[in-house]
Structures are given as structure tokens and as C-alpha cells.
């Protein structure tokens, strides 16, 4: 009879109850057909339970169901994948327990658990009572969603900051010029006005370039000579580099290395990467540009010995107008769009852009461009 009790305990469904009654009524003379029936019913119930468990396991959320004493009855696979580290796991499970206790008192609750990582993760735990018999909790990873929210809100703040600052400065400078009579002061103010106007123009140029790259569905693919692309990028920033006393050099590039890609876009991306590297490297530092071929494409590498990027900002620097340090941004004169242009170029080519960096040690950007065959024209 053991299997019957086990089954009753397992589902408590009406099918099993009926079976149990039939089983006990005819128990003195158990014939083989009844045994087969039992066995097949057992298999059916087991299959149903398995299917439910499989359905739970397929869910992207963690699900935990408990009885009225708080003992866990069901736990799906996703609950085990919540914490990457043991300590994250413990913190999430503690939140689950805490909210389940409240649900068992008949009160639904939810809690957002922020795990500082790295990598940073945000998990939402919901707990609901299931009548008088128990409670269930769901665990949902909302890291990506909350990151996107942050991107959206920061974007508006950042773009208005970047555009308003030079325009505000222009207005103030012009107002002062109206009243001013001293020629030396006038010439100084006029100089500043020109600088601010250039700044606005540069932002608008970058915005236009970004939207062009964003919108251009079709790449103008041609055979590009990798060595000349690298040379173009390193010489384009020669003046700033000399001023900052930063040595820009090209690494060894295999002779005759070619890649099929949009020449203008790759040149723009590399130019932006080298531009950044030079800007954020102190006097006496070095910037190295290299190209490493593999069977499928070319990886352009731009490495500097500059100030580096804080770990927390690494996954956000490719956003439009994102600034690691806003106080510093005016001094370096960038527009905050360079890296998002690079990201779009990578995306357009089906490639990738990655960065590894440590503050005080420098950054290395890797732009991978897969080779693509020239379309037949």
C-alpha cells in the first residue's frame, strides 16, 4: 500500500482518491489487470506531475511554493540560478523567506533586492498567500529592465546638460559684449564666443554623424586596407597628441591585410577610439593601435596608459551622452557621443566592441569587424 499513500501525499487529486477506494475494496483478491490499471494510473499521475514541474522549470522566474508551515513543497529550476555567487544566493533566499512569512500571515508582499555585485543585479521578490494552505513566491531578475530605465532617464538629463551649457555660455557672452567698450576685453570675449560656437557645432556634427550611422541600413562595403585605416586614425589625432605629449603608435600589422567593410564608418570609429585614448591619457603616456586578423575578420585594438574607467561605468560608456565624470568633460572637450558612434559602427557590421579597463592603469578597446564579401553590383 505504500505507493498509494505516497501518491495521496503527492497530489491528493480526485483520481487517486477513487483509485484508493477501488484498491481497498478489492484488495483481498488483487488480480493482474487491476495491478496494471494501478500502474498505468500511477504513471499518468506521475507524468502529470512531471509535466507541471517541467512547465515550472521552463519559466523565466523563480517559483517557490510552501505549505502553511512554511516548508517548501515546490521549487523550480530558475530559483537555483538566481544568485551567481553563494552570498547573492543567500541574500535572495533570505528575502524570499522574509516575504513568504508575511504571505503566510495572509498579506501579499513584494520587495526589490539590489545586489551590488559586480556585476550589479536587481531582483524583485513577490509573495502571495495561497488561501489557508500555504504561500508562493516568485523571483524575477529585473537587472536589464532597471538598467534601461536608468539609461532613459539619464539620457534626457545628459543631453540637456550637453546642449544647454554652451548655449547658455553663448547667451551670457553676447550679453556682456553688448555693454563692453574695452577692446581687449571685447577680443577676449569674442574668442570665447567662437570657442563655444565651435563646441555646439561639434556636438551637432557628432549628432548628425551618429544619426547617419544609426539610420544607414546599407553599408557601402569595399575592400579596405587595414594598415591605411590604422594610419589614418593615428595621424588624425596627431596634433592633440603632440600637445598632450602622448605617443601614438601603430602596432605591427600583417602586410596586405584587408577587410571588407564600410571604409568611412570604420575610419570614423577608429578615429573616435584614438581620440578618446589621447584625451584621457596624461602627459608621457602611450596609445597603441593594433589590428589582429583571424579567419572571420579583424579585431582593431586601441590601448592606452591613461586614467582608466571605473568598473561601475564600464557597461554604460557606450550610451549617448554618458559621462563618467561630468566635471571633467568640459576640460576634455568631447561631446559624449564618440563611443556610441563606435558601438553603432560595430552593430552595423555585425561586429562587437568590448572594453577592459582599470582606473590608473589604462583602457583597451577591441573593435571586432567580421569580414563580409563585396556585394555583386
Amino acid at each position: 500500500m505504500f505507493w498509494l499513500w505516497a501518491l495521496l501525499g503527492f497530489v491528493g487529486g480526485s483520481v487517486v482518491t477513487v483509485l484508493a477506494m477501488r484498491g481497498s475494496a478489492s484488495s483481498p483478491t488483487v488480480d493482474s489487470t487491476l495491478g496494471d490499471e494501478r500502474a498505468s494510473a500511477e504513471i499518468a499521475v506521475q507524468a502529470r506531475a512531471d509535466r507541471l514541474q517541467a512547465a515550472l522549470d521552463a519559466m523565466p522566474y523563480g517559483v517557490v511554493v510552501t505549505d502553511h508551515d512554511g516548508n517548501v513543497l515546490v521549487r523550480n529550476q530558475a530559483t537555483a540560478e538566481v544568485g551567481a555567487d553563494a552570498h547573492n544566493e543567500v541574500l535572495v533566499q533570505a528575502a524570499v523567506q522574509y516575504n513568504l512569512r508575511s504571505a503566510l500571515r495572509g498579506e501579499a508582499r513584494s520587495q526589490t533586492v539590489e545586489l551590488y555585485g559586480p556585476p550589479r543585479r536587481v531582483v524583485v521578490v513577490h509573495a502571495k498567500p495561497l488561501g489557508p494552505d500555504g504561500a508562493m513566491a516568485t523571483i524575477e531578475d529585473v537587472t536589464e529592465r532597471s538598467r534601461l530605465d536608468a539609461v532613459r532617464t539619464d539620457f534626457v538629463a545628459n543631453i540637456s546638460h550637453e546642449l544647454k551649457t554652451p548655449i547658455g555660455a553663448l547667451a551670457v557672452l553676447a550679453e556682456t559684449l553688448i555693454e563692453e567698450t574695452d577692446p581687449t576685453v571685447i577680443s577676449r570675449l569674442a574668442d570665447k564666443t567662437v570657442n563655444e560656437a565651435h563646441r555646439v557645432a561639434k556636438i551637432i556634427d557628432d549628432l548628425l554623424e551618429l544619426s547617419r550611422i544609426e539610420l544607414s541600413g546599407d553599408l557601402i562595403v569595399s575592400e579596405c586596407d587595414v594598415a591605411s585605416l590604422v594610419l589614418e586614425a593615428t595621424s588624425r589625432n596627431g596634433y592633440v597628441a603632440r600637445q598632450n605629449q602622448v605617443v601614438v603608435s601603430a602596432g605591427e600589422i600583417p602586410a596586405g591585410l584587408k577587410v571588407h567593410a564600410d571604409h568611412a564608418q570604420i575610419a570614423s570609429a577608429l578615429g573616435n577610439l584614438v581620440d578618446n585614448a589621447v584625451k584621457y591619457t596624461d602627459v608621457g603616456g602611450t596609445v597603441t593601435v593594433a589590428a589582429l586578423p583571424d579567419q572571420l575578420g579583424v579585431t582593431f585594438m586601441v590601448a592606452d596608459t591613461g586614467i582608466g574607467i571605473p568598473t561601475r561605468d564600464l557597461d554604460r560608456i557606450f550610451e549617448r551622452f554618458y559621462r563618467v565624470d561630468r566635471a571633467r568633460s568640459r576640460g576634455t572637450g568631447g561631446t559624449g557621443l564618440g563611443l556610441s558612434i563606435v558601438r553603432h559602427v560595430a552593430n552595423n557590421h555585425g561586429g562587437t566592441i568590448t572594453v577592459s579597463s582599470h582606473e590608473g592603469e589604462g583602457s583597451t578597446f577591441r573593435l571586432y569587424i567580421p569580414d563580409r564579401p563585396v556585394p555583386v553590383s
Binding site: 553563494a86 552570498h87 543567500v90 555585485g117 582608466g308 571605473p310 568598473t311 582599470h358 582606473e359 590608473g360
Partner: protein, 245 residues
């Protein structure tokens, strides 16, 4: 197993779970404190410092539970080691939480001062390493893994190295006039806090080894001491561990 024994083992398991939870809390607060320090986030500093009261309360509660188990259940052998080790480990975790608070207090004191990228970089690395040590300590405890616990000591060497590098970088930054003396002193103290957090993780690892093997690294030194003759020329005998003679 009779009912009484079942509840006894349940109690020990509860103590272990709570201890892991406290340690996880500390592990989580290390990168938070590092971010507070690097971004000058005063609100975050207040939050962490305020949160320490909870750690204190729960540590005391956990200690009480350990003492109660000792008094009421009189555990022996492995169970006794578990409880004694837990008592010691609570203190390590609680002290580590205080050190995390101290980092936040230092962040308040150096608020508004710019730090070199080199200094910021080493602070980031120290924070990461201290957290790694704590993660390893928790994992070794959860898994009763003496080998992993022994590795924590080696991981700590890197943290000690970072501390030395950091002090050197502070000297250079101060000599170049980029930070003033007050900030330099505060930073040196911060480096010490991270290093101490690492030491507490090492101690937890040693206690894990003790639970599993009954052996502590201190036993080596203690054995040396006992084999040394005192002024009378007599070799000291172990008094605490009767071997039957």
C-alpha cells in the same frame, strides 16, 4: 533519530544559516562601501552606517543562541566544534561589518577631495579582493571545504600587497601635491580597514578548517612554545589537552 536530537541538529543548522546570512550581508556591503568612498556618496554612507545596528543586534542574538545550545544540549565532538567555531566567527563577521562602516566614515572625512586615478584604481582592487576573500570564506563554510578555507590565506597575500602598493601611491600623490596630509592619512587608514576585513575572512577560513579537521594554524606556534624550556629549564607540558599522562 529521536525528537530531541532532531531539534538539536535543527538548532545547529539554524545557527549556521544565520551566520551565513550575516556574512553574506557583510560581503554585499564591501562593494557598496567602496562605491561610497569613490563617489563621495554621503547618503549611501549614512545608510551603511545605520545598517550596522541590525548586524549588531543579530550578532548578539546569534551569540545567545550558541550559548544556549552549549548550556542546554552539551554538544560533543564535531557538534561542539561547530558551536564554538560559530561563536568565534560571529565576532569576526561583526567586526568586519564595523570596518565597512569605518570605510564609510572615512569617506565622509575625505568628502570633496579629488583622488588620482591610480589611488582610485587600487581602492577598487582592494575592495574587490576583500569581497573575494569573504565570498571564499562563506563558500568554504557552507561546503565545509577545508582546502578552500586554506586557500583564503594565500588570497590574502595579494590584498596585503595591494595595501603596500596603495601606501606607496599615497606617498607619491602627496609628494606631487595632489592630496593634502589629512586626506593621505585617512586613505592610509582606509587601506588598513580593507586589509583587516581580509584578515577576518582568513580567520573565518581557519575556523572552518578547525570545524572540519580540529586543527588550527595557531597550533603550530603553540606547539613550538610548549617545546621551549622555561627559566627553570623545565619543558612546559600541555595543560589543556590531557593526553592521558
Amino acid at each position: 533519530m529521536n525528537e530531541l536530537r532532531k531539534s538539536f541538529h535543527h538548532d545547529i543548522e539554524d545557527v549556521r544559516t544565520e551566520l551565513v546570512h550575516l556574512a553574506a550581508f557583510v560581503t554585499e556591503s564591501i562593494p557598496r562601501a567602496t562605491a561610497v568612498l569613490l563617489t563621495g556618496d554621503l547618503e549611501g554612507a549614512d545608510m551603511i552606517i545605520g545598517g550596522d545596528d541590525e548586524i549588531d543586534a543579530r550578532s548578539l542574538d546569534l551569540e545567545d543562541r550558541c550559548v544556549q545550545i552549549l548550556a542546554l544540549q552539551a554538544p560533543v565532538a564535531g557538534d561542539l566544534r561547530q558551536i564554538v567555531a560559530a561563536l568565534k566567527m560571529v565576532a569576526e563577521v561583526e567586526r568586519s561589518a564595523d570596518l565597512v562602516c569605518n570605510i564609510c566614515k572615512a569617506a565622509r572625512r575625505i568628502y570633496g577631495h579629488e583622488l588620482d586615478p591610480t589611488l582610485r584604481g587600487i581602492i577598487t582592487r582592494m575592495g574587490e579582493q576583500a569581497q573575494q576573500l569573504y565570498i571564499a570564506a562563506i563558500e568554504s563554510f557552507v561546503e565545509n571545504d577545508a582546502a578552500k578555507a586554506a586557500a583564503i590565506d594565500d588570497m590574502d597575500d595579494y590584498l596585503d600587497d595591494l595595501q603596500r602598493q596603495f601606501v606607496q601611491a599615497i606617498f607619491e600623490s602627496h609628494a606631487a601635491g595632489r592630496i593634502d596630509l589629512q586626506v593621505a592619512v585617512q586613505l592610509a587608514v582606509v587601506a588598513r580597514f580593507y586589509e583587516r576585513i581580509g584578515d577576518h575572512a582568513v580567520n573565518i577560513g581557519e575556523r572552518v578548517r578547525f570545524v572540519v579537521t580540529g586543527w588550527l594554524p595557531e597550533h603550530r606556534g603553540a606547539a613550538r612554545f610548549r617545546s621551549r624550556p622555561d627559566e627553570t629549564g623545565e619543558i612546559m607540558r600541555p595543560v589543556d589537552q590531557g593526553t592521558g599522562d
